[in-house]
């Protein structure tokens, strides 16, 4: 009974946290874009425009859910849910500090990746069921992109698993928690001794950008040629869920980068240990992602696939082998 209550509470908090992040990252993105583009951004509703996300939510929920003619109604309705739910589920295993974690799962890493792959299915369903040529093309792009980028991402994660010797996310962080130089991104101290770990970090970061359909890899919603991409036929909260799912996925991607390479909740020099170190690192990465989006133009589909198959996959494989060898030697 107590355990059930604990799990329910944890899940509710995880959902609330995911939804809060998703909603306010939209605000942060628009404000960030405003700063970069020398304009105010949303600043009317509430102080600093902070009431914008709930009002947007109310507006979207007040809209009629509309099924265009000829759509596959089941898949069309299921797709937004399939994007949002796995993203929320992944939040359950993220360790925010050594004690703050909704549910510690020994195969946490596997679970996060399993749910991350499910999100692509939602995008594909959306594109397929909409009966729109633009959204179909966007869905095809998204799938080929997700397949291409999951491989180097998994290989890099495997490198981390080799170093840490566990798939438990909390353990992976605990291994790096001694100090700043034990983080996985730094090659000299810590477990790995692998000088190429910064490149590994870069590969993982690029892959997480591509996995979450973020600029410069946002080919699934390339508005220049595909109008709005896979969610072209969606309105109301269906569209809202796609939007929130995208931002929830960004939080997951940034969290994983933090956990794998930047020492998660570990404090750099033994000052004020606590959950805020995780949050600082997480939002620093998210700010970088926002910054990249408003600076770079979009890549092409072949440029994107070439990058993955010709550069990232060989590089990450090489890094995996090197790490394995070095672990054997030292």
């Amino acid at each position: 009974m107590l355990l059930t209550l604990k799990i329910v509470t944890a899940v509710v908090i995880a959902i609330a946290w995911a939804a809060f992040n998703a909603a306010y990252l939209v605000w942060a993105e628009r404000r960030g874009a405003g700063i970069i583009q020398r304009r105010p951004g949303p600043n009317i509703n509430g102080p600093f425009g902070l009431l914008q996300p709930p009002l947007d939510g109310i507006k979207l929920m007040a809209k009629q859910i509309f099924f265009p003619g000829e759509v596959d109604r089941v898949l069309y309705a299921a797709a937004p849910v399939l994007v949002m739910t796995p993203a929320i589920m992944s939040f359950v295993t993220i360790p925010y500090s050594d004690w703050l974690q909704a549910q510690n799962i020994h195969v946490g890493l596997l679970m996060v990746f399993a749910f991350a792959s499910l999100g692509t299915m939602g995008i594909f369903f959306a594109g397929w069921s909409s009966r729109n040529k633009y959204s179909l093309m966007a869905a095809m792009r998204s799938v080929s992109q997700a397949v291409a980028y999951e491989i180097p991402m998994m290989i890099t994660a495997l490198t981390i698993v080799l170093i840490a010797g566990t798939t438990d996310l909390n353990e992976i962080v605990a291994k790096q928690s001694a100090n700043f130089f034990h983080w996985n991104i730094f090659p000299l101290k810590g477990e790995s001794h692998n000088l190429l770990m910064p490149f590994s970090f870069l590969i993982f970061f690029i892959c997480s950008l591509a996995e979450t359909n973020r600029a410069p890899f946002d080919l699934g919603e390339a508005e220049g040629e595909l109008v709005a991409g896979f969610h072209i036929e969606y309105g109301s909260m269906g569209f809202g869920l796609f939007f929130m799912g995208e931002y929830a996925n960004i939080v997951i991607g940034a969290s994983l980068t933090t956990i794998f390479f930047l020492g998660g909740w570990a404090d750099p020099f033994g000052v004020c240990p606590g959950v805020w170190w995780f949050l600082i690192k997480l939002y620093a990465i998210i700010c970088t992602i926002i910054w990249i989006r408003w600076t770079f133009p979009r890549t092409t589909i072949y440029g994107l696939l070439n990058l993955s198959w010709k550069i990232l996959i060989p590089a990450s494989l090489f890094n995996l082998l090197l790490t394995a060898g070095l672990l054997k030697v030292f």
Partner: protein
Amino acid sequence: MNLPIQLQPDETFILNVGPQHPATHGVLRVKMEMNGEYIVNAETVIGYIHRMHEKMGEVKPYSQFLMNLSRMDYLGAMGYSHGHALCVEKAAGIEVPERAEYIRVLMVELNRIASHLVWLGAFVMDLGGFTPLLYCFQDREYILDMMERITGARLTYCYIRFGGVCRDVDDQFIDSARNFIPYMRKQLAKYHKLVTGNIIFKKRMNGIGRISAEMCRRYGASSAVARGAGINFDVRRNEPYSVYPQLDFDIPVYDGCDNMARYMVRMDEIEQSLRIVEQIIARLPDGEVMPRKVPKIIKLPKGDCYQAVETARGSFGVRIVSTGDKIPYRLKLRSPTYSNMHLFDEACRGMLLMDAMAMLGTLDLVIPEIDR
């Protein structure tokens, strides 16, 4: 990167791009026959914003038609009224004071910079980069504010009249134009850093969207499309008009035939326009801006008159056939983007949709100007 692929005609589908589509910048419709993401065939469909400007010119006196010209191309409007005014003046034999002619060229060149800035922003937005658009619009705002003070309009000017310009420029305008030149040079360097040097941008530009010189000649393309294909043709230089022969400027020509060449031509043209503005400010002669005697109702002598000018979008021509009446018998407007756009049908065959859209962006289309 457009590798030749085996096209299977039975596996194609029709993609209807437009008339409302973010990449077409207006109401252009492109019917594309697609094989996956590859374009097998494309057909541009125009006419959605046809307003019968030519016919309007044939039922109105010349001076009443003057404001129609700036409605053709809302981004580089000044060049179009310049062309029409020059044509009518040539036929009617109206002398234009030197100061007026210099002011006209000054305004046309400032307008050209404004137009190229909008193109730059919108083009990079086609490629998925949002930020340059807002930077460009801020710079353009500078020009528009300056021109608004003198001409009274921000987009659709009726500033150039037969015989001169309707209002003289003042010291404040000259000062702000003088301040604008170093500011714009600094901004231009910034754009080169932000956009031209970007690796993703380079990958999408170099070697993509090939339009050869032979093709440009066949379709009658002009502006950066032709000059990006190595054709050294600019009406300002080859068929000199107005005071351009007295000004020192270069015609940027690149022979890459690709997106990058067209992009670089336009970026360099901004710099050349700045040079022209600089020279005019330095040597603006004193005097009247309208001649004393311009007839209220202009009647052109019987005959045929043609005048071409280089607008921001290419060589624009006005042909007036007069029977000696106060309205022309026939008025033909040669729109530069009309020719530039029809290249697209042929050039985009076998390309990926994304690359084709990038190429469409480099053509710098203004749809109301095509449809007239």
